[in-house]
């Protein structure tokens, strides 16, 4: 008897989300298949995109080989961002680390002005991450949203502690939101339910937190896999958002990445590949060489299917 491979067909669709405005606009999500299941019925209209990370201050704790490609620009985030674009990033992720009260406690207004400058310096969309301090972010991110009114940045992290104030500012000024919860599918869904009471679901990206290879990657992997499965197979509207894997920082703080450049590149590359397989739609890396490595490993043809 001839073997016939089973072909699955699912009715759930990941929401298609646009980030950036006008010529800079990029679409993510929109798939109704599981990651790389091109043999099933359905499609992935928008292949995953890659961001390189830029800081709003000169990093002091990055290994020298991560800073090396940017040595001439680290003091100027706008130039740094432009360089990321030249090096092949689809989008830039600006981390407002210096606003953290434990760092320089940079005022919200300064951070917002800088964000606008960076966004205007590049021809690709901008992702903005606050410091993660929920109280400070509740000041910084609304300012960023206001100053960059209408630019459709992707702004986060929107947390359960500050989703109302941050979410409303993002909404009112025409941006999209990154909803972040700590590695737990029940909490992730709860935040989306609460956010969606006033925020459109098709402007939300899920950040489930991305642990590095060897440092809990299994948890992030199974969680992303499950979010995608529940969205596509079970059709739960509260998990049908694209996902972002902010993994660069997690990889480059590992002992292994600090020991040698080669190890670091592999660490970041393999972590990124794993999250692609788990279903991430946006991946944030730090090193242009590991970005290249990931792209070469997958090849371009597969996305054409």
């Amino acid at each position: 008897m001839e073997y016939k491979a089973p072909i699955e067909s699912y009715s759930g669709v990941v929401r298609e989300i646009t980030i950036g405005k006008g010529e800079k606009a990029l679409k993510i999500g929109g798939e109704n298949i599981l990651p790389f299941h091109f043999f099933d019925e359905g499609s992935l209209p928008n292949p995953p995109i890659f961001a390189l990370e830029v800081w709003d201050m000169e990093p002091t704790d990055w290994p020298e080989w991560v800073l090396e490609p940017f040595n001439d620009v680290v003091s100027d985030p706008a130039k740094w961002a432009r360089k990321c674009q030249e090096l092949g990033a689809n989008t830039v992720s600006l981390s407002l680390i210096s606003t953290d009260p434990a760092e320089k406690d940079t005022p919200a207004r300064e951070a917002a002005a800088l964000t606008k400058k960076v966004a205007e310096a590049i021809g690709i969309p901008l992702i903005v991450y606050g410091s993660g301090d929920d109280k400070k972010d509740a000041e910084v991110l609304p300012q960023v949203a206001e100053v960059c009114d209408g630019m459709n940045l992707l702004i986060g992290p929107v947390l359960k502690e500050n989703y109302e104030v941050v979410g409303k500012a993002i909404l009112n000024h025409g941006h999209s939101a990154i909803a972040q919860t700590p590695l737990d599918i029940n909490l992730l869904k709860e935040l989306n339910v609460k956010l969606c009471k006033f925020f459109p679901a098709d402007r939300i990206v899920i950040d489930p937190l991305s642990s590095a290879l060897g440092y809990g990657i299994e948890y992030s992997f199974s969680l992303m896999e499950r979010v995608k499965q529940i969205g596509v197979i079970v059709k739960d509207g509260m998990t049908q958002m694209p996902m972002i894997a902010n993994l660069g920082g997690e990889c480059w703080k590992t002992k292994q990445a600090k020991e040698s450049k080669e190890q670091g590149l592999l660490w970041e590359g393999i972590t990124a590949l794993s999250f692609l397989l788990a279903g991430a739609n946006i991946l944030i890396l730090r090193h242009p060489e590991s970005l290249k490595l990931v792209k070469e490993t997958i090849g371009g043809e597969i996305w054409q299917k």
């Binding site: 737990d184 599918i185 029940n186 909490l187 992730l188 869904k189 709860e190 339910v193 609460k194 969606c196 009471k197 199974s222 969680l223 499950r226 529940i230 079970v234 739960d236 509207g237 509260m238 998990t239």
Partner: protein
Amino acid sequence: MVIIGESIHVISKAVSTAIKERDAKPIQDLAKAQADSGADYIDLNVGFLRKDPEETMQWVVNTVQEVTDLPLSLDTMNPVAMEAGLKVCKKRPLLNSASGKTDSKEQMLPLAKKYNCDVVISVFTDKGMPSEAESKIESIMDTVAYANEVGIPNEDIWADPIILPVSTAGEGQKLAVSNIEFMKIIQDVLPGIKSTVGLSNVSNGVPVELRPILNRTYLMMLARHELYSVIVDVLDKELMSMCKGEMPNIVDLIYRTMDGEDIDLSSLSQKEIDYVKTTKVLTGETLYSDAWLES
């Protein structure tokens, strides 16, 4: 359904203080309130009782027996305390509980035989807590076989599949489903056996105002598959009313949701909608979140 009142539990500060200070009133008040609310048994969860196990257990048993004739469910892991309590029970008590763990099996089951009482046997074993329905059944069959050899018939055994919180990230909902499966099979593989569950644990960790609806819904789902008994908050009036069969419409909705019927929510009251949504969480159809009633 045989209802066991759970309120006398050392986890409650009032109860543990009363036991420590030998203050009969708070304990007797709880016993009376539960008896008045329709409990069939009063559970006495006294903890392990490292200090004065015999004297303490007997004091608690006698204190409660002064105000109620209901049979007691003696709830301790300490076999010395257990035996002391069994000695002074006036009505045939329930030994709560034994398990497949070696210590428990070897110490508790002979006591159940010696004092000719009913005994709760849970699915725990030395290897831990089985999570799939099949492995729960396997584990309980082993322990029941052991109990039969000791001389305890199936009819005196109340099997407990162990309920865990449904809100546990990722796994909780699967575990909730596995207990329903367990209930479907248990009578076929161990004819004559009874069953019981510690219901409230299903909603452990859930915001406190949302716990009752989870408890009630899950109880009706288990009861559909012949759950014999339940350890429960008998002071929850709506739950007791459901147990007495006074809310057939809600129960019918729960059953239809379990059967996968696509129920038109627009024709339902808010309360009915909440029960449908809760059933969907407990069957695993909807992913759990603390906001399950809001989406």
